[in-house]
Symmetry: C2
Subunit: 299 residues, 2 copies
Protein backbone atom coordinates (compact mmCIF):
# COMPACT_ATOMS: atom_id res chain seq x y z
CA UNK A 1 0.00 0.00 0.00
CA UNK A 2 1.10 3.54 -0.67
CA UNK A 3 -0.69 6.88 -0.61
CA UNK A 4 1.26 7.64 -3.82
CA UNK A 5 2.45 10.97 -2.40
CA UNK A 6 4.65 12.27 0.41
CA UNK A 7 3.01 12.33 3.85
CA UNK A 8 3.51 15.01 6.47
CA UNK A 9 2.57 13.20 9.70
CA UNK A 10 1.83 15.42 12.70
CA UNK A 11 1.14 14.47 16.34
CA UNK A 12 -0.10 17.65 18.03
CA UNK A 13 -0.71 17.01 21.68
CA UNK A 14 -1.53 19.02 24.78
CA UNK A 15 2.05 19.93 25.64
CA UNK A 16 4.14 18.84 22.66
CA UNK A 17 4.13 18.95 18.87
CA UNK A 18 5.96 16.40 16.71
CA UNK A 19 6.10 16.02 12.96
CA UNK A 20 7.68 13.66 10.43
CA UNK A 21 8.11 13.80 6.65
CA UNK A 22 7.59 10.37 5.09
CA UNK A 23 8.27 9.33 1.50
CA UNK A 24 5.72 7.50 -0.61
CA UNK A 25 6.90 4.15 0.79
CA UNK A 26 6.45 5.23 4.42
CA UNK A 27 10.11 5.79 5.29
CA UNK A 28 10.73 8.70 7.70
CA UNK A 29 12.95 11.24 5.91
CA UNK A 30 13.08 13.86 8.63
CA UNK A 31 11.40 14.59 11.96
CA UNK A 32 10.95 17.65 14.17
CA UNK A 33 9.70 18.19 17.71
CA UNK A 34 8.65 21.41 19.45
CA UNK A 35 7.38 22.43 22.86
CA UNK A 36 4.33 23.92 21.13
CA UNK A 37 1.45 21.83 22.44
CA UNK A 38 -2.05 23.20 21.95
CA UNK A 39 -2.00 24.84 25.39
CA UNK A 40 0.72 27.20 24.11
CA UNK A 41 -1.18 28.26 20.98
CA UNK A 42 -3.64 31.20 21.22
CA UNK A 43 -7.05 30.62 19.59
CA UNK A 44 -6.93 31.44 15.87
CA UNK A 45 -3.15 30.98 15.67
CA UNK A 46 -2.98 27.27 14.84
CA UNK A 47 -2.63 27.75 11.07
CA UNK A 48 0.11 30.35 11.52
CA UNK A 49 2.06 28.11 13.93
CA UNK A 50 1.65 25.17 11.56
CA UNK A 51 2.86 27.20 8.56
CA UNK A 52 5.85 28.56 10.47
CA UNK A 53 7.01 25.12 11.63
CA UNK A 54 6.02 22.87 8.71
CA UNK A 55 5.30 25.22 5.77
CA UNK A 56 8.51 24.21 3.97
CA UNK A 57 7.52 20.55 3.99
CA UNK A 58 4.07 21.39 2.61
CA UNK A 59 5.64 22.93 -0.50
CA UNK A 60 6.37 19.46 -1.86
CA UNK A 61 4.07 18.67 -4.80
CA UNK A 62 1.00 16.66 -3.73
CA UNK A 63 2.04 16.64 -0.07
CA UNK A 64 -0.70 15.27 2.18
CA UNK A 65 -0.77 16.21 5.87
CA UNK A 66 -2.61 14.25 8.58
CA UNK A 67 -2.71 15.68 12.11
CA UNK A 68 -3.64 13.53 15.11
CA UNK A 69 -3.98 14.41 18.78
CA UNK A 70 -5.49 17.27 20.75
CA UNK A 71 -5.26 19.67 17.80
CA UNK A 72 -8.62 18.12 16.86
CA UNK A 73 -10.20 18.87 20.23
CA UNK A 74 -12.50 21.75 21.25
CA UNK A 75 -9.42 23.61 22.53
CA UNK A 76 -7.42 22.90 19.36
CA UNK A 77 -7.26 24.05 15.75
CA UNK A 78 -10.80 22.92 15.03
CA UNK A 79 -13.00 20.27 16.65
CA UNK A 80 -13.03 16.94 14.82
CA UNK A 81 -15.95 15.12 16.50
CA UNK A 82 -15.18 11.75 18.06
CA UNK A 83 -15.70 8.74 15.81
CA UNK A 84 -17.86 6.17 17.67
CA UNK A 85 -16.61 2.61 18.20
CA UNK A 86 -16.44 0.05 16.76
CA UNK A 87 -14.10 1.86 14.39
CA UNK A 88 -11.19 0.94 12.14
CA UNK A 89 -9.22 2.69 9.41
CA UNK A 90 -12.28 2.99 7.19
CA UNK A 91 -14.33 4.79 9.86
CA UNK A 92 -11.40 7.05 10.83
CA UNK A 93 -10.87 7.92 7.15
CA UNK A 94 -14.55 8.80 6.72
CA UNK A 95 -14.46 11.05 9.81
CA UNK A 96 -11.35 13.03 8.85
CA UNK A 97 -11.95 16.77 9.20
CA UNK A 98 -10.43 18.38 6.12
CA UNK A 99 -8.95 21.82 6.81
CA UNK A 100 -7.80 22.06 3.18
CA UNK A 101 -9.52 19.41 1.03
CA UNK A 102 -7.08 16.75 -0.13
CA UNK A 103 -4.19 18.54 1.59
CA UNK A 104 -4.54 18.87 5.40
CA UNK A 105 -6.87 16.88 7.66
CA UNK A 106 -7.44 16.43 11.39
CA UNK A 107 -7.81 12.82 12.54
CA UNK A 108 -10.79 12.40 14.89
CA UNK A 109 -10.51 10.69 18.26
CA UNK A 110 -12.64 7.69 19.23
CA UNK A 111 -15.51 7.40 21.69
CA UNK A 112 -17.29 4.40 23.19
CA UNK A 113 -20.24 4.08 25.55
CA UNK A 114 -20.25 2.02 28.75
CA UNK A 115 -22.86 -0.59 29.65
CA UNK A 116 -23.57 1.05 33.04
CA UNK A 117 -26.70 2.95 34.05
CA UNK A 118 -25.33 6.31 32.88
CA UNK A 119 -23.86 4.79 29.67
CA UNK A 120 -20.65 6.47 30.76
CA UNK A 121 -18.69 7.55 27.69
CA UNK A 122 -14.97 7.08 27.25
CA UNK A 123 -12.77 8.96 24.82
CA UNK A 124 -9.28 9.00 23.27
CA UNK A 125 -7.59 11.44 20.90
CA UNK A 126 -4.22 10.62 19.32
CA UNK A 127 -3.95 7.10 20.72
CA UNK A 128 -6.14 5.68 17.91
CA UNK A 129 -3.34 6.39 15.41
CA UNK A 130 -0.73 4.70 17.61
CA UNK A 131 -3.01 1.68 18.00
CA UNK A 132 -3.47 1.14 14.28
CA UNK A 133 0.22 1.82 13.66
CA UNK A 134 1.35 -0.72 16.25
CA UNK A 135 -1.02 -3.34 14.82
CA UNK A 136 0.43 -2.72 11.32
CA UNK A 137 3.97 -3.06 12.66
CA UNK A 138 3.04 -6.26 14.52
CA UNK A 139 1.14 -7.68 11.53
CA UNK A 140 -1.95 -8.31 13.66
CA UNK A 141 -5.60 -7.29 13.33
CA UNK A 142 -6.82 -8.42 16.77
CA UNK A 143 -5.17 -7.67 20.10
CA UNK A 144 -5.39 -6.15 23.55
CA UNK A 145 -3.30 -2.96 23.61
CA UNK A 146 -2.21 -0.87 26.58
CA UNK A 147 -1.04 2.74 26.28
CA UNK A 148 0.34 3.66 29.73
CA UNK A 149 0.54 7.30 30.70
CA UNK A 150 -1.19 10.15 32.51
CA UNK A 151 -4.46 8.60 31.36
CA UNK A 152 -3.71 4.97 30.49
CA UNK A 153 -5.82 3.28 27.84
CA UNK A 154 -6.75 -0.42 27.63
CA UNK A 155 -8.01 -1.20 24.15
CA UNK A 156 -9.67 -4.21 22.51
CA UNK A 157 -9.21 -4.58 18.75
CA UNK A 158 -11.00 -7.26 16.75
CA UNK A 159 -10.63 -7.73 12.99
CA UNK A 160 -8.96 -4.37 12.61
CA UNK A 161 -11.57 -2.35 14.55
CA UNK A 162 -11.43 -0.91 18.05
CA UNK A 163 -14.45 -2.48 19.74
CA UNK A 164 -14.04 -1.15 23.27
CA UNK A 165 -11.61 0.76 25.47
CA UNK A 166 -11.20 2.06 29.02
CA UNK A 167 -9.23 4.98 30.42
CA UNK A 168 -7.45 4.78 33.81
CA UNK A 169 -6.16 7.91 35.58
CA UNK A 170 -3.14 5.97 36.85
CA UNK A 171 -0.38 8.38 35.85
CA UNK A 172 -2.21 11.48 37.06
CA UNK A 173 -3.08 9.86 40.41
CA UNK A 174 0.59 8.82 40.80
CA UNK A 175 1.74 12.38 40.13
CA UNK A 176 -0.76 13.93 42.57
CA UNK A 177 -0.18 11.42 45.36
CA UNK A 178 3.61 11.47 45.07
CA UNK A 179 3.94 15.25 44.80
CA UNK A 180 0.97 16.79 46.61
CA UNK A 181 -0.42 14.31 49.17
CA UNK A 182 0.85 13.45 52.65
CA UNK A 183 2.72 10.56 50.95
CA UNK A 184 5.10 13.09 49.39
CA UNK A 185 6.69 13.49 52.84
CA UNK A 186 7.80 9.85 53.07
CA UNK A 187 8.87 9.06 49.50
CA UNK A 188 11.72 10.16 47.25
CA UNK A 189 10.80 10.57 43.59
CA UNK A 190 14.43 11.01 42.58
CA UNK A 191 15.57 7.62 43.80
CA UNK A 192 16.47 4.81 41.40
CA UNK A 193 13.64 2.51 40.32
CA UNK A 194 13.46 -0.42 42.79
CA UNK A 195 11.95 -3.45 41.05
CA UNK A 196 11.56 -5.45 44.28
CA UNK A 197 9.51 -2.70 45.95
CA UNK A 198 7.57 -2.18 42.70
CA UNK A 199 6.55 -5.86 42.63
CA UNK A 200 5.68 -5.73 46.35
CA UNK A 201 3.27 -2.94 45.40
CA UNK A 202 1.90 -5.06 42.53
CA UNK A 203 1.35 -7.99 44.92
CA UNK A 204 -0.34 -5.80 47.54
CA UNK A 205 -2.69 -4.33 44.92
CA UNK A 206 -3.96 -7.82 44.04
CA UNK A 207 -4.99 -8.49 47.66
CA UNK A 208 -8.55 -7.92 48.84
CA UNK A 209 -9.25 -4.37 49.92
CA UNK A 210 -9.36 -0.95 48.36
CA UNK A 211 -6.55 1.02 46.77
CA UNK A 212 -7.69 3.95 48.97
CA UNK A 213 -6.48 1.86 51.91
CA UNK A 214 -3.39 0.38 50.24
CA UNK A 215 -2.16 3.92 49.44
CA UNK A 216 -1.89 4.77 53.15
CA UNK A 217 0.76 2.04 53.51
CA UNK A 218 3.17 4.32 51.64
CA UNK A 219 3.01 6.52 54.74
CA UNK A 220 3.12 3.83 57.42
CA UNK A 221 5.82 1.67 55.75
CA UNK A 222 7.90 4.86 55.81
CA UNK A 223 7.00 5.77 59.42
CA UNK A 224 7.94 2.26 60.59
CA UNK A 225 11.07 2.28 58.40
CA UNK A 226 10.09 -0.87 56.52
CA UNK A 227 10.92 0.61 53.10
CA UNK A 228 13.31 3.43 52.16
CA UNK A 229 12.08 6.70 50.71
CA UNK A 230 13.33 5.69 47.24
CA UNK A 231 11.75 2.22 47.48
CA UNK A 232 8.42 3.79 48.52
CA UNK A 233 8.24 5.66 45.22
CA UNK A 234 8.51 2.36 43.32
CA UNK A 235 6.07 0.73 45.77
CA UNK A 236 3.47 3.46 45.09
CA UNK A 237 3.96 3.00 41.34
CA UNK A 238 3.39 -0.77 41.77
CA UNK A 239 0.24 -0.21 43.85
CA UNK A 240 -1.34 2.00 41.18
CA UNK A 241 -0.27 0.06 38.09
CA UNK A 242 -1.35 -3.11 39.91
CA UNK A 243 -4.76 -1.57 40.65
CA UNK A 244 -5.12 -0.85 36.92
CA UNK A 245 -4.20 -4.45 36.03
CA UNK A 246 -6.35 -5.97 38.80
CA UNK A 247 -9.61 -5.57 36.91
CA UNK A 248 -8.36 -6.69 33.49
CA UNK A 249 -8.78 -10.19 32.17
CA UNK A 250 -6.52 -10.98 29.24
CA UNK A 251 -7.14 -14.23 27.38
CA UNK A 252 -3.93 -16.15 26.63
CA UNK A 253 -5.47 -17.07 23.24
CA UNK A 254 -5.52 -13.41 22.21
CA UNK A 255 -1.72 -13.32 21.81
CA UNK A 256 0.65 -11.02 23.66
CA UNK A 257 -0.59 -7.68 24.91
CA UNK A 258 0.87 -4.81 22.87
CA UNK A 259 2.31 -1.99 25.00
CA UNK A 260 2.78 1.44 23.42
CA UNK A 261 4.65 4.13 25.29
CA UNK A 262 7.92 5.51 26.59
CA UNK A 263 10.72 3.10 27.52
CA UNK A 264 10.46 3.93 31.24
CA UNK A 265 6.74 3.21 31.41
CA UNK A 266 6.68 0.16 29.16
CA UNK A 267 9.46 -1.34 31.33
CA UNK A 268 7.25 -1.06 34.43
CA UNK A 269 4.20 -2.51 32.68
CA UNK A 270 6.29 -5.32 31.19
CA UNK A 271 7.57 -6.24 34.68
CA UNK A 272 4.05 -6.12 36.10
CA UNK A 273 2.45 -8.14 33.28
CA UNK A 274 5.17 -10.82 33.39
CA UNK A 275 4.74 -11.00 37.18
CA UNK A 276 1.05 -11.75 36.54
CA UNK A 277 1.93 -14.27 33.78
CA UNK A 278 0.67 -12.13 30.92
CA UNK A 279 2.85 -12.02 27.77
CA UNK A 280 3.47 -8.65 26.15
CA UNK A 281 5.53 -6.81 23.54
CA UNK A 282 6.39 -3.10 23.31
CA UNK A 283 6.23 -0.39 20.66
CA UNK A 284 7.49 3.18 20.87
CA UNK A 285 6.95 6.46 19.05
CA UNK A 286 7.33 4.83 15.62
CA UNK A 287 3.76 3.56 16.00
CA UNK A 288 2.42 7.09 15.44
CA UNK A 289 4.13 7.53 12.06
CA UNK A 290 3.17 4.01 10.96
CA UNK A 291 -0.44 4.68 11.92
CA UNK A 292 -0.69 7.98 10.07
CA UNK A 293 0.98 6.38 7.03
CA UNK A 294 -1.50 3.51 7.02
CA UNK A 295 -4.37 5.98 7.34
CA UNK A 296 -2.98 8.00 4.41
CA UNK A 297 -2.93 4.83 2.35
CA UNK A 298 -6.56 4.11 3.24
CA UNK A 299 -8.04 7.54 2.63
Amino acid sequence: MSPGKPLIAIDWGTTSLRGARLDASGQVQESRAFARGILSVPPGQFEAVFNALFGDWMQAANALCLISGMAGSRQGWQEAPYCPCPAGFAELGQHLLWLQPGRIALVPGLSCMGADALHTPDVMRGEEVQIFGALQLAGRDSATLVLPGTHSKWVQVQDGRVTQFQTFMTGEVFALMSQHSILSKTLDLNGAFDDTAFLQGIDQSQQPGSVLHHLFAVRTLGLFERLSAAALSSYLSGLLIGEELRTQTVSADAGPVILIGSDALTLRYTLALHHLNIACQSRGAEATWAGLFALACAC
Copy 2:
Protein backbone atom coordinates in the same frame (compact mmCIF):
# COMPACT_ATOMS: atom_id res chain seq x y z
CA MET B 1 -17.41 6.67 87.45
CA SER B 2 -15.60 9.91 88.14
CA PRO B 3 -11.96 10.94 88.12
CA GLY B 4 -12.78 12.83 91.35
CA LYS B 5 -11.17 15.99 90.02
CA PRO B 6 -11.74 18.52 87.23
CA LEU B 7 -10.53 17.44 83.79
CA ILE B 8 -8.93 19.69 81.20
CA ALA B 9 -9.58 17.80 77.96
CA ILE B 10 -7.44 18.85 74.98
CA ASP B 11 -7.65 17.74 71.35
CA TRP B 12 -4.49 19.07 69.68
CA GLY B 13 -4.50 18.22 66.02
CA THR B 14 -2.46 19.06 62.95
CA THR B 15 -4.28 22.29 62.12
CA SER B 16 -6.53 23.00 65.11
CA LEU B 17 -6.46 23.02 68.89
CA ARG B 18 -9.59 22.54 70.99
CA GLY B 19 -9.97 22.34 74.75
CA ALA B 20 -12.79 21.81 77.26
CA ARG B 21 -13.00 22.18 81.04
CA LEU B 22 -15.12 19.40 82.56
CA ASP B 23 -16.36 19.13 86.11
CA ALA B 24 -15.91 15.98 88.19
CA SER B 25 -19.15 14.54 86.75
CA GLY B 26 -18.05 15.02 83.14
CA GLN B 27 -20.16 18.07 82.29
CA VAL B 28 -18.49 20.55 79.94
CA GLN B 29 -18.19 23.89 81.77
CA GLU B 30 -16.39 25.83 79.10
CA SER B 31 -14.68 25.15 75.77
CA ARG B 32 -12.14 26.97 73.60
CA ALA B 33 -10.85 26.49 70.06
CA PHE B 34 -7.80 27.99 68.37
CA ALA B 35 -6.17 27.82 64.94
CA ARG B 36 -3.01 26.65 66.68
CA GLY B 37 -2.51 23.13 65.33
CA ILE B 38 0.91 21.55 65.81
CA LEU B 39 2.06 22.75 62.40
CA SER B 40 1.87 26.34 63.72
CA VAL B 41 3.96 25.66 66.85
CA PRO B 42 7.77 25.92 66.63
CA PRO B 43 9.71 23.04 68.26
CA GLY B 44 10.18 23.64 71.96
CA GLN B 45 7.25 26.05 72.18
CA PHE B 46 4.45 23.60 72.99
CA GLU B 47 4.52 24.13 76.75
CA ALA B 48 4.52 27.90 76.34
CA VAL B 49 1.55 27.80 73.93
CA PHE B 50 -0.29 25.44 76.26
CA ASN B 51 0.31 27.67 79.29
CA ALA B 52 -0.76 30.78 77.40
CA LEU B 53 -4.02 29.26 76.21
CA PHE B 54 -4.98 26.94 79.10
CA GLY B 55 -2.82 28.02 82.05
CA ASP B 56 -5.77 29.61 83.84
CA TRP B 57 -7.74 26.35 83.75
CA MET B 58 -4.74 24.44 85.14
CA GLN B 59 -4.74 26.59 88.31
CA ALA B 60 -7.77 24.71 89.63
CA ALA B 61 -6.77 22.45 92.54
CA ASN B 62 -6.10 18.86 91.41
CA ALA B 63 -6.78 19.67 87.76
CA LEU B 64 -5.88 16.76 85.47
CA CYS B 65 -5.11 17.42 81.80
CA LEU B 66 -5.25 14.77 79.04
CA ILE B 67 -4.13 15.73 75.54
CA SER B 68 -5.02 13.61 72.51
CA GLY B 69 -4.14 14.03 68.84
CA MET B 70 -1.01 14.94 66.91
CA ALA B 71 0.55 16.73 69.90
CA GLY B 72 1.75 13.22 70.80
CA SER B 73 3.40 12.65 67.42
CA ARG B 74 7.06 12.99 66.45
CA GLN B 75 6.28 16.51 65.19
CA GLY B 76 4.37 17.43 68.37
CA TRP B 77 5.08 18.29 72.01
CA GLN B 78 6.72 14.95 72.67
CA GLU B 79 6.33 11.54 71.00
CA ALA B 80 3.93 9.20 72.78
CA PRO B 81 4.65 5.85 71.07
CA TYR B 82 1.69 4.09 69.47
CA CYS B 83 -0.13 1.59 71.69
CA PRO B 84 -0.46 -1.70 69.78
CA CYS B 85 -3.92 -3.25 69.20
CA PRO B 86 -5.87 -4.95 70.63
CA ALA B 87 -6.20 -2.04 73.01
CA GLY B 88 -8.89 -0.59 75.27
CA PHE B 89 -9.03 2.00 78.01
CA ALA B 90 -6.69 -0.02 80.24
CA GLU B 91 -3.96 -0.21 77.60
CA LEU B 92 -4.36 3.46 76.66
CA GLY B 93 -4.12 4.41 80.34
CA GLN B 94 -0.93 2.35 80.78
CA HIS B 95 0.64 4.01 77.73
CA LEU B 96 -0.08 7.61 78.72
CA LEU B 97 3.02 9.77 78.40
CA TRP B 98 3.12 11.94 81.54
CA LEU B 99 4.58 15.39 80.88
CA GLN B 100 3.94 16.36 84.52
CA PRO B 101 3.23 13.25 86.62
CA GLY B 102 -0.40 13.16 87.76
CA ARG B 103 -1.09 16.51 86.08
CA ILE B 104 -0.61 16.52 82.28
CA ALA B 105 -0.40 13.50 79.98
CA LEU B 106 -0.32 12.84 76.24
CA VAL B 107 -2.67 10.08 75.04
CA PRO B 108 -0.89 7.68 72.67
CA GLY B 109 -2.28 6.74 69.28
CA LEU B 110 -2.99 3.15 68.25
CA SER B 111 -1.19 0.90 65.78
CA CYS B 112 -2.12 -2.43 64.24
CA MET B 113 -0.28 -4.73 61.86
CA GLY B 114 -1.76 -6.13 58.63
CA ALA B 115 -1.82 -9.81 57.68
CA ASP B 116 -0.11 -9.14 54.33
CA ALA B 117 3.44 -10.05 53.32
CA LEU B 118 4.90 -6.75 54.53
CA HIS B 119 2.76 -6.80 57.73
CA THR B 120 1.75 -3.31 56.69
CA PRO B 121 1.16 -1.19 59.79
CA ASP B 122 -1.76 1.16 60.23
CA VAL B 123 -1.96 4.02 62.69
CA MET B 124 -4.34 6.54 64.25
CA ARG B 125 -3.78 9.40 66.66
CA GLY B 126 -6.69 11.23 68.27
CA GLU B 127 -9.42 9.02 66.83
CA GLU B 128 -8.94 6.43 69.61
CA VAL B 129 -10.38 8.89 72.12
CA GLN B 130 -13.40 9.65 69.91
CA ILE B 131 -13.99 5.91 69.46
CA PHE B 132 -14.08 5.16 73.18
CA GLY B 133 -16.16 8.29 73.81
CA ALA B 134 -18.74 7.37 71.19
CA LEU B 135 -19.00 3.83 72.60
CA GLN B 136 -19.59 5.26 76.09
CA LEU B 137 -22.27 7.60 74.78
CA ALA B 138 -23.93 4.75 72.87
CA GLY B 139 -23.66 2.37 75.82
CA ARG B 140 -21.95 -0.29 73.68
CA ASP B 141 -18.71 -2.22 74.01
CA SER B 142 -18.65 -3.84 70.55
CA ALA B 143 -19.22 -2.08 67.24
CA THR B 144 -17.96 -1.14 63.81
CA LEU B 145 -17.11 2.57 63.81
CA VAL B 146 -16.35 4.84 60.87
CA LEU B 147 -14.56 8.17 61.23
CA PRO B 148 -14.82 9.86 57.82
CA GLY B 149 -12.35 12.55 56.88
CA THR B 150 -9.08 13.30 55.12
CA HIS B 151 -7.93 9.85 56.21
CA SER B 152 -11.07 7.86 57.04
CA LYS B 153 -10.83 5.12 59.65
CA TRP B 154 -12.86 1.90 59.81
CA VAL B 155 -12.56 0.40 63.26
CA GLN B 156 -13.59 -2.90 64.85
CA VAL B 157 -14.21 -2.88 68.61
CA GLN B 158 -14.92 -6.06 70.56
CA ASP B 159 -15.53 -6.18 74.31
CA GLY B 160 -14.26 -2.65 74.73
CA ARG B 161 -11.00 -3.10 72.83
CA VAL B 162 -10.03 -1.95 69.32
CA THR B 163 -9.04 -5.19 67.61
CA GLN B 164 -8.35 -3.91 64.10
CA PHE B 165 -8.66 -0.82 61.93
CA GLN B 166 -7.98 0.43 58.42
CA THR B 167 -7.24 3.90 57.07
CA PHE B 168 -8.59 5.08 53.70
CA MET B 169 -7.22 8.20 51.98
CA THR B 170 -10.71 9.06 50.71
CA GLY B 171 -10.87 12.71 51.76
CA GLU B 172 -7.38 13.54 50.58
CA VAL B 173 -7.92 11.86 47.20
CA PHE B 174 -11.21 13.79 46.83
CA ALA B 175 -9.44 17.07 47.55
CA LEU B 176 -6.57 16.38 45.12
CA MET B 177 -8.78 15.10 42.30
CA SER B 178 -11.37 17.85 42.63
CA GLN B 179 -8.88 20.71 42.94
CA HIS B 180 -5.71 19.68 41.13
CA SER B 181 -6.49 16.99 38.53
CA ILE B 182 -7.99 17.37 35.05
CA LEU B 183 -11.37 16.68 36.71
CA SER B 184 -11.20 20.12 38.32
CA LYS B 185 -12.00 21.59 34.88
CA THR B 186 -15.40 19.89 34.62
CA LEU B 187 -16.72 20.04 38.18
CA ASP B 188 -17.93 22.83 40.46
CA LEU B 189 -17.02 22.39 44.12
CA ASN B 190 -19.23 25.30 45.17
CA GLY B 191 -22.46 23.79 43.89
CA ALA B 192 -25.12 22.44 46.26
CA PHE B 193 -24.81 18.78 47.28
CA ASP B 194 -26.76 16.66 44.78
CA ASP B 195 -27.92 13.46 46.46
CA THR B 196 -29.08 11.85 43.20
CA ALA B 197 -25.67 12.31 41.56
CA PHE B 198 -23.97 11.22 44.81
CA LEU B 199 -25.91 7.93 44.82
CA GLN B 200 -25.19 7.44 41.08
CA GLY B 201 -21.51 7.62 42.07
CA ILE B 202 -22.10 5.13 44.90
CA ASP B 203 -23.81 2.74 42.46
CA GLN B 204 -21.05 3.08 39.87
CA SER B 205 -18.37 2.37 42.49
CA GLN B 206 -20.02 -0.97 43.30
CA GLN B 207 -19.75 -2.13 39.67
CA PRO B 208 -16.86 -4.30 38.49
CA GLY B 209 -13.81 -2.29 37.44
CA SER B 210 -11.29 -0.03 39.06
CA VAL B 211 -11.84 3.33 40.70
CA LEU B 212 -8.93 4.59 38.53
CA HIS B 213 -11.25 4.05 35.56
CA HIS B 214 -14.47 5.21 37.24
CA LEU B 215 -12.79 8.54 38.09
CA PHE B 216 -12.34 9.38 34.40
CA ALA B 217 -16.13 9.39 34.03
CA VAL B 218 -16.16 12.69 35.94
CA ARG B 219 -14.46 14.14 32.87
CA THR B 220 -16.45 12.40 30.15
CA LEU B 221 -19.87 12.82 31.80
CA GLY B 222 -19.02 16.53 31.80
CA LEU B 223 -17.71 16.57 28.20
CA PHE B 224 -20.89 14.84 26.98
CA GLU B 225 -23.06 17.07 29.21
CA ARG B 226 -24.68 14.15 31.03
CA LEU B 227 -24.22 15.73 34.48
CA SER B 228 -23.87 19.38 35.47
CA ALA B 229 -20.66 20.74 36.96
CA ALA B 230 -22.27 20.88 40.42
CA ALA B 231 -23.67 17.34 40.13
CA LEU B 232 -20.22 16.04 39.08
CA SER B 233 -18.76 17.16 42.39
CA SER B 234 -21.33 15.04 44.25
CA TYR B 235 -20.81 12.18 41.77
CA LEU B 236 -17.05 12.20 42.46
CA SER B 237 -17.74 12.17 46.20
CA GLY B 238 -20.05 9.17 45.72
CA LEU B 239 -17.45 7.31 43.63
CA LEU B 240 -14.78 7.66 46.32
CA ILE B 241 -16.94 7.04 49.40
CA GLY B 242 -18.47 4.09 47.54
CA GLU B 243 -14.98 2.71 46.79
CA GLU B 244 -14.24 2.91 50.53
CA LEU B 245 -17.48 1.05 51.35
CA ARG B 246 -17.07 -1.51 48.56
CA THR B 247 -14.53 -3.61 50.43
CA GLN B 248 -16.23 -3.53 53.83
CA THR B 249 -18.48 -6.28 55.10
CA VAL B 250 -20.64 -5.24 58.03
CA SER B 251 -22.56 -7.94 59.86
CA ALA B 252 -26.17 -6.98 60.61
CA ASP B 253 -25.78 -8.77 63.98
CA ALA B 254 -23.11 -6.28 65.04
CA GLY B 255 -25.67 -3.49 65.48
CA PRO B 256 -25.65 -0.18 63.65
CA VAL B 257 -22.37 1.26 62.45
CA ILE B 258 -21.33 4.27 64.55
CA LEU B 259 -20.30 7.30 62.46
CA ILE B 260 -18.15 9.99 64.10
CA GLY B 261 -17.49 13.23 62.26
CA SER B 262 -18.75 16.56 61.00
CA ASP B 263 -22.42 16.92 60.06
CA ALA B 264 -21.62 17.37 56.35
CA LEU B 265 -19.56 14.18 56.15
CA THR B 266 -21.75 11.99 58.35
CA LEU B 267 -24.74 13.00 56.19
CA ARG B 268 -22.98 11.65 53.08
CA TYR B 269 -21.91 8.41 54.79
CA THR B 270 -25.41 7.96 56.25
CA LEU B 271 -26.93 8.28 52.76
CA ALA B 272 -24.39 5.85 51.31
CA LEU B 273 -24.76 3.27 54.10
CA HIS B 274 -28.57 3.37 53.97
CA HIS B 275 -28.39 2.98 50.17
CA LEU B 276 -26.37 -0.22 50.77
CA ASN B 277 -28.82 -1.35 53.50
CA ILE B 278 -26.42 -0.83 56.40
CA ALA B 279 -27.87 0.77 59.55
CA CYS B 280 -25.89 3.53 61.23
CA GLN B 281 -26.02 6.26 63.88
CA SER B 282 -23.93 9.45 64.16
CA ARG B 283 -21.88 11.18 66.84
CA GLY B 284 -20.16 14.56 66.68
CA ALA B 285 -17.45 16.43 68.56
CA GLU B 286 -18.91 15.51 71.97
CA ALA B 287 -17.33 12.06 71.54
CA THR B 288 -13.86 13.55 72.14
CA TRP B 289 -14.75 15.03 75.53
CA ALA B 290 -16.63 11.88 76.56
CA GLY B 291 -13.63 9.75 75.61
CA LEU B 292 -11.11 11.83 77.49
CA PHE B 293 -13.42 11.91 80.52
CA ALA B 294 -13.78 8.12 80.47
CA LEU B 295 -10.02 7.77 80.16
CA ALA B 296 -9.52 10.12 83.12
CA CYS B 297 -11.86 7.91 85.14
CA ALA B 298 -9.85 4.82 84.22
CA CYS B 299 -6.37 6.13 84.84
